[in-house]
C-alpha cells in the first residue's frame, strides 16, 4: 500500500523531480536561469500542442454538432490535420497592405502571443508546478491579460483597413468592458482565500470533507462567481457568442482581416492560448486548480486533473459556439454594464455575508437567495424592458 502511495507521489511530482535532477548538473551560478528555462520551455511546448489538438477537437466537435464528420482526410481520423494546417499557414504568402504601418503590423501578433504566454507564469498546472509563485499572482494575471487588448488594437489600427478598424474598435470596447466583471468576479475568491497568490488559492481548495472537495464553485457565491467569470472570460477571449471583434459575417475577420500566412496563425494561436489561460484561471479560482474532484481520486497525478478540467471547459466553449448566434455591440455592452456588473457587485456582498455568517444551512439559504433572486429579477427586468417575447402569428385562410 505504501509503495502504491509512493508511486503515486512519484508520478505526481515526476516533472518537478526531473527538473531538480537536471538542475543538479548545472553550475550554481547558472541555476536560476536554467531553472527558469526548464520551467518555461515545457509551457511553450505543451500549450501550443494543446492548441493544435483543440483546433482539431473544435472542428470535429462542431462537425458532430452540425451532423458532419469534421476533418478526417489527413492521417487516421484526421489526426494529422493540425500539422497540415501548420504547414499550410507557414507556406502561405505573407501579405502586408502597402499602406499599413509595417512595424506595428509586424509587432501586433508577436505581442499577442507573448502576452498570452506570460499569463501562464502564475498558473499552477500541478502540485508544485508553477513557474513563479507570485504574491500578487492574480493581479499579475489580469495585468498581463490586458496587454492582449493592446495587441489587438495595434493589429486593427496598423492595417489601415476599415474593417480592421471597426474590429479594433469593437475589440477595445468589448475587452475593457468585460475586464471589469472578470476582475470583480474573481475578487470573491481573493476575499475568501485572503491571498492573491494562485498557489495559496489552490491549496485552500485542495482539501476534502469526506469525499467532497472544498472547491469554491460549490458555494452560492462561488457558483455565481464562476458563471459570471466564464461569461466574462468568453467575451475576453472573443469566443462565440461574443466574437464580435472578428465577427466573420459582418466585418470579415475584424482586426486581423489584413493578416495572412504565419502572422494569421500567430493571431489564431494567441487567441486560443489566451482562452486556455483564462480557463486555467477559472479552474484555479473556482474549480480547485489541480485538485481531484473526489478524495479517493487524489492518487491520479495533479496535472492530469488540471488538463482534464481545461478540456471540459474547452468542450463547453465549443458547444456554446456551435449553438448560439452572435450578440450585437450595444447588446453586448448592455449585458456587461446592466447585468454582469450589478451581479458581480452583489456577489461580492454575498461573499462577505457568507464569510461572517455561522456555518450551517442558514448561511447556504441566505446566500443562495441573495444570488438567485436578484439574478432572476434583473434578467426579468431587462427582458421586460426590451419586450422580447415569442411573437404570435395569425393566419389568413
Amino acid at each position: 500500500m505504501t509503495h502504491l502511495v509512493q508511486l503515486a507521489q512519484l508520478l505526481d511530482q515526476i516533472f518537478v523531480l526531473a527538473k531538480h535532477w537536471l538542475l543538479g548538473y548545472v553550475p550554481a551560478g547558472a541555476q536560476p536561469l536554467c531553472s527558469a528555462v526548464l520551467s518555461v520551455v515545457p509551457i511553450i511546448i505543451v500549450f501550443p500542442l494543446l492548441f493544435a489538438i483543440t483546433t482539431l477537437l473544435e472542428r470535429k466537435g462542431l462537425g458532430r454538432i452540425q451532423n458532419r464528420y469534421g476533418p478526417n482526410r489527413v492521417g487516421p481520423f484526421g489526426l494529422l490535420q493540425p500539422i497540415a494546417d501548420g504547414v499550410k499557414t507557414l507556406t502561405k504568402e505573407d501579405i502586408v497592405p502597402i499602406t499599413a504601418d509595417h512595424a506595428v503590423h509586424f509587432l501586433a501578433p508577436l505581442l499577442l502571443v507573448s502576452a498570452s504566454f506570460m499569463d501562464y507564469a502564475v498558473l499552477p498546472i500541478g502540485r508544485n508546478m508553477v513557474i513563479v509563485n507570485l504574491n500578487a499572482g492574480v493581479l499579475f494575471f489580469f495585468a498581463v491579460g490586458s496587454l492582449m487588448e493592446l495587441a489587438v488594437f495595434m493589429a486593427g489600427w496598423s492595417s489601415r483597413s476599415k474593417y480592421t478598424l471597426l474590429g479594433a474598435m469593437r475589440a477595445i470596447a468589448q475587452m475593457i468592458s468585460y475586464e471589469v466583471p472578470l476582475v470583480l468576479a474573481s475578487i470573491v475568491v481573493i476575499m475568501q482565500a485572503g491571498s492573491l497568490s494562485t498557489v495559496a488559492i489552490v491549496n485552500m481548495q485542495a482539501t476534502y470533507t469526506g469525499i467532497w472537495p472544498h472547491w469554491f464553485v460549490f458555494t452560492p457565491w462561488g457558483f455565481a462567481g464562476f458563471v459570471l467569470f466564464m461569461v466574462a472570460a468568453t467575451a475576453e477571449s472573443n469566443r462565440s457568442p461574443f466574437d464580435l471583434p472578428e465577427g466573420e459575417s459582418e466585418i470579415i475577420a475584424g482586426y486581423y482581416t489584413e493578416y495572412s500566412g504565419f502572422k494569421f496563425a500567430l493571431f489564431f494561436m494567441g487567441e486560443y492560448i489566451g482562452m486556455f489561460a483564462t480557463s486555467g484561471m477559472a479552474i484555479t479560482l473556482f474549480l480547485g486548480g489541480w485538485s481531484a474532484p473526489f478524495s479517493f481520486l487524489a492518487w491520479i497525478p495533479s496535472y492530469f486533473w488540471f488538463f482534464a478540467k481545461l478540456l471540459v471547459l474547452i468542450a463547453v466553449f465549443i458547444w456554446v459556439r456551435g449553438t448560439l448566434p452572435r450578440l450585437r455591440m450595444d447588446q453586448l455592452m448592455n449585458l456587461a454594464w446592466e447585468f454582469m456588473l450589478p451581479m458581480t457587485l452583489l456577489n461580492l456582498l454575498t461573499a462577505g455575508i457568507w464569510h461572517f455568517m455561522p456555518m450551517g444551512p442558514s448561511r447556504w439559504l441566505v446566500c443562495s437567495i441573495m444570488v438567485a433572486v436578484p439574478c432572476i429579477l434583473l434578467s426579468r427586468g431587462l427582458k421586460h424592458k426590451k419586450k422580447f417575447q415569442v411573437h404570435t402569428y395569425h393566419y389568413s385562410e
Partner: protein
C-alpha cells in the same frame, strides 16, 4: 426566465452531437472517393452518341441532321455533315457526321438535344469524374470519345433504353414489313428478278 431558450438550443445541439454517432439519419455525408451514392437512373450530365453493334463508326445512329446543334441553348454542339453516305444499322444509306464535337465546358446538361433528336442518337451520360486540366483535349469531346454503345446506354438508363429499343425495333419491323410488301409487289408485277440491294 432568461437563458431558457439558450438552454433549449444547447440541448438540441447536444442531441445532434450524440445523435450523429448513433443515427445514420443524422450523419448523411457520403465520403466521396471511397463511398459513392447509388447511381440514380434519371441522372444526367453530358450527352453522348449511341451506336448499335460493335463498331462505333459503322453503327452510329446520328445522321447529322443538325437539329440538336440548332436547338442547343448554349450552342455547344458543332456538327459537320459528311459528303458521302454510309449504311446505318438498318442498312439504309444515311449521311453521318464528319465532325461531331461537344464542348462540355459550355454544355449545361439541359437535355434539350436528347429531347429534340428524332433518331434517338444522342443521350445523356452519367459519368461525372471528368475534371481535367486539359481544356481542349479533355473537355472538347470529339465523335469517337462521344460514341458509346447501346449496351452502355442500357446499363445506365435501363428503363429509358428498353423503351427506346422497343420503339426502334418496332420501326425496324415496320420498315422490313414495308420492304417485304414492296418486294412482293415487285415480284408479282415484274417477276423477273429479285430486287437488288435488299438489305440483309
Amino acid at each position: 426566465m432568461v437563458g431558457e431558450g439558450i438552454l433549449k438550443g444547447m440541448a438540441e445541439t447536444a442531441r445532434n452531437f450524440f445523435g450523429s454517432f448513433v443515427s445514420k439519419d443524422r450523419l448523411t455525408t457520403v465520403q466521396y472517393p471511397e463511398q459513392r451514392e447509388l447511381r440514380i437512373e434519371a441522372a444526367r450530365d453530358f450527352p453522348f452518341l449511341v451506336y448499335d453493334g460493335a463498331d462505333w463508326h459503322q453503327g452510329m445512329r446520328c445522321v447529322a441532321c443538325q437539329i440538336c446543334e440548332k436547338e442547343c441553348p448554349p450552342k455547344c454542339i458543332f456538327i459537320e455533315k459528311s459528303k458521302d453516305k454510309k449504311p446505318d444499322a438498318n442498312g439504309k444509306p444515311q449521311f453521318y457526321p464528319a465532325v461531331f464535337n461537344i464542348d462540355i465546358s459550355v454544355c449545361m446538361s439541359c437535355q434539350i438535344c436528347v429531347e429534340v433528336c428524332p433518331f434517338d442518337a444522342i443521350k445523356m451520360d452519367v459519368d461525372y469524374d471528368l475534371s481535367t486540366d486539359d481544356r481542349f483535349g479533355g473537355l472538347l469531346l470529339n465523335k469517337q470519345r462521344l460514341s458509346k454503345s447501346n449496351e452502355y446506354y442500357r446499363k445506365i438508363h435501363p428503363t429509358e433504353a428498353s423503351a427506346v429499343d422497343a420503339r426502334l425495333a418496332g420501326e425496324r419491323a415496320r420498315q422490313e414489313a414495308k420492304a417485304k410488301t414492296a418486294a412482293e409487289a415487285r415480284l408479282t408485277t415484274t417477276a423477273v428478278q429479285p430486287a437488288s440491294g435488299e438489305p440483309r
